[in-house]
Amino acid sequence: MGKETQLLTSTCFHCGDGLPKSVIPFDNKEFCCVGCKGVYELLSKNNLCDYYELADSPGLSLKNPISKVKFNFLDDDQIQRQLLQYRDDKISRITFHMPTMHCSSCIWLLENLYKLNKGVKNSRVDFLRKQLSISFDHHLSSLREIVELLSALGYEPSLNLNDLEGKKKQQNSNRLLYQLGVAGFGFGNIMLVSFPEYFGLDSFSSSYLSKLFGFLNMGLALPVFLFSAQDYFISAYRSLKKGIVNIDFPLALGILVMFARSSYEVITHSGIGFFDTLAGLVFFLLLGKWVQQRTIDTLSFERDYKSYFPLAVSVLHNTKETTVPVPQLKIGDRIIIRNNEIIPADSILLKGSAQIDFSFVTGENDPIEKVLGEVIYAGGRQVGSAIEMEVCKTVSQSYLTQLWNSEHFAKAQQSSIQSFQSIVSRYFTFALLIIAFASAAFWFWFDPSRSLNAFTAVLIIACPCALALSSPFALGNSLRMLGRSKFYLKSPDIVEKMANVDHLVFDKTGTITQAAESNISYYGEALNEIQSDYLKAVCGNSVHPLSKKIAGFLPDSKQPKFLIENYQELSGKGISATIDSVTIKIGSANYLQINPKSVVDVLATRVYISIANNCLGFFEITHAYRAGLSNLVSNLANNYKLTLLSGDNDSERERLSQVFPKNAQMLFNMSPSEKMLYIHQLRESGEKVAMIGDGLNDAGALKVADLGISVTENTAHFSPGSDVIMDATGFIKLSNYFNYAKCTLNVIHMSFVISLLYNIFGLSFAVQGLLSPVIAAILMPISSISVILFTTVSTYLFAKKNQLF
């Protein structure tokens, strides 16, 4: 039964893609290509077919074979030394980033790598970070062999220039974890020891045990005070030096006063102090910090051109091919770029037919044809056969890389948007100090013995713990809610920036247009079946993007195959061919020597066809805007100023002006640096700008804006450094995201009010000098927990209300 169903399925057993007409059968299973079959063969030979049982069709399509020499550069000793984390005379260790890892089958196979390669000693996956660390015996197999094996399995590790330039800093949050552990340890045990005091057991309070408990508490609180809370003292001291009063100042002051007063009480046997409150406060504060620090590990938000460019490139040296690390490329070097390789430096095309896909640079998906002698900018990807080029600028001097070295870019100024917490904490601290001194002065007048007591009590009880917790929990939660909706923020404080933005700037290509899709329609005399088949056959012969689109548009041919004769393709003009002695021409109006009858509509590209010297009509190809765009724009136009920036010419101005409101600015023919300057000027004039774009050409603008949102079709692919990485499917929900950010800000405001109420309640005791340790020990955790609960629940409810999921 199992085998029968497998035969009936019309998807590839390995990768799950639809099967083409020519299926490759093997072992009672069907495969879409030789690559997929190869992987299955390899796995079944090694008893690794469990791979297919853990998830349905877990494999990755291998339709694009990888060039044999692609990884030769990994034999280079210098490159190896920079990539390997560790190496002795036997074992090497390396960590790869593997964006294609996606399911539990992947984990299983990658951790069983030792069964496929004898050299591999151990391999371990970190799924959330999409990393694979491998230790291998470099006498038994080389780094190149391992990378080739991984690539053959479909898990090509991403090796790029960024890996070469210094090992990545390991984000170390361990220190915070230790602090949190120590604080939790102190909090729990101090509370336990303080129980007799809470219940007012007299037999304890008078006996020597009470003294012992006091000193025990002090001993437990000491590491909390010295180790766990030290960051608050450092931060408060640093900001005071700069003349700023931040939230950490009242916190540090409260902690310090609490510890001093409690120690005094214990040593003089006048009480047991507030050690429980102190440890609890520090514990909750660190918990908030930890929540705020947990961000999305899977995505990298700091990517620049270095994480996109290759490690090495083939260089032709006296007709001999060698691989050279990209940073060592010199002007005049002859490089060879093969199919799907990226051009690392601005170069002149010398040999071969170049079809350059600049999708990562411009967001434009169609490959662009280049002629011999033309300078091709770095960042393009060659599609088709290998080409030979001469480097005319070094990598660091190339057009795109210079964007990163530009003045504005380096000085990408701090956002002018201030967080609610920083604004509030200033007033809060001053109010707190005034109350403390006022109550001290009052009691000094009436009852000097209670003066110091009241002063310290105010500082202890008003320690803005709940206030300090509201922002981290509200922002941290909404980061996760937005992440569930495929809107990934770099850090939680971005939510506040989102809520405060008042001007949205859109890029056109790839952002509001759908990169992969375009509308195609035919105008003219109706085509009969044979004509349509002819056209499809001819177009299918060409790699030109327009021909591919037309071939995809035409219905499938019923006839087996045509013999195409006299096939001729003139770049930039069109193609001609003869089938069954009928001449077929496809191309521009100029190429077909016809004068278009209707006025040429500049909004779209037209491809004319003629069969047997008779012009039948034309195909019109227009870019598709994302579904729901006009709805989204009209939603956003109510609350935001909108601007459109495009690197293309203004041929689509009319169509776009139907979508965008009249007051929206539309600027065309903008170079990457012009976009950046434009955003810069908007910010100078005091606007709070969000840039929504994609591709390397927007990288400057994304960085300069208050908020940079990069839109990507596939989050595993490259996207330029920005504050937010957004899955393109969520584009139409953009206004929901912005609304949600505003709701989150409201939640913070409300929880501020809640914590203020608690403070006023506590202060009413404190100013009278009546604060007992028990009240403090109850009030502090209750206020903290209620704020945590309130923010967590309300951010979730608001996410539902804004239809995030």
């Binding site: 853990l54 799924f127 361990n174 552990g181 340890f185 045990l209």
Partner: protein
């Protein structure tokens, strides 16, 4: 009431034991990846087929 000293001593030792266990787990990298182990534990090593036939 002198038994309290012993009890407190024991409870402190236990608590410190747990603190040390926590610090060890952080050092050991258990806090770094909180997803993959949950998948890994469900994999089972099947006996190799040829072996089982021979047996």
């Amino acid at each position: 009431m002198k038994i309290m000293f012993l009890l407190i001593g024991c409870s402190m030792l236990m608590a410190i034991g747990f603190l040390i266990a926590f610090i060890w787990s952080v050092r050991n990298g258990q806090m770094e990846d909180d997803y993959t182990p949950s998948v890994r534990i469900l994999f089972e090593d099947k006996p190799i087929k040829e072996d089982s036939e021979e047996n």
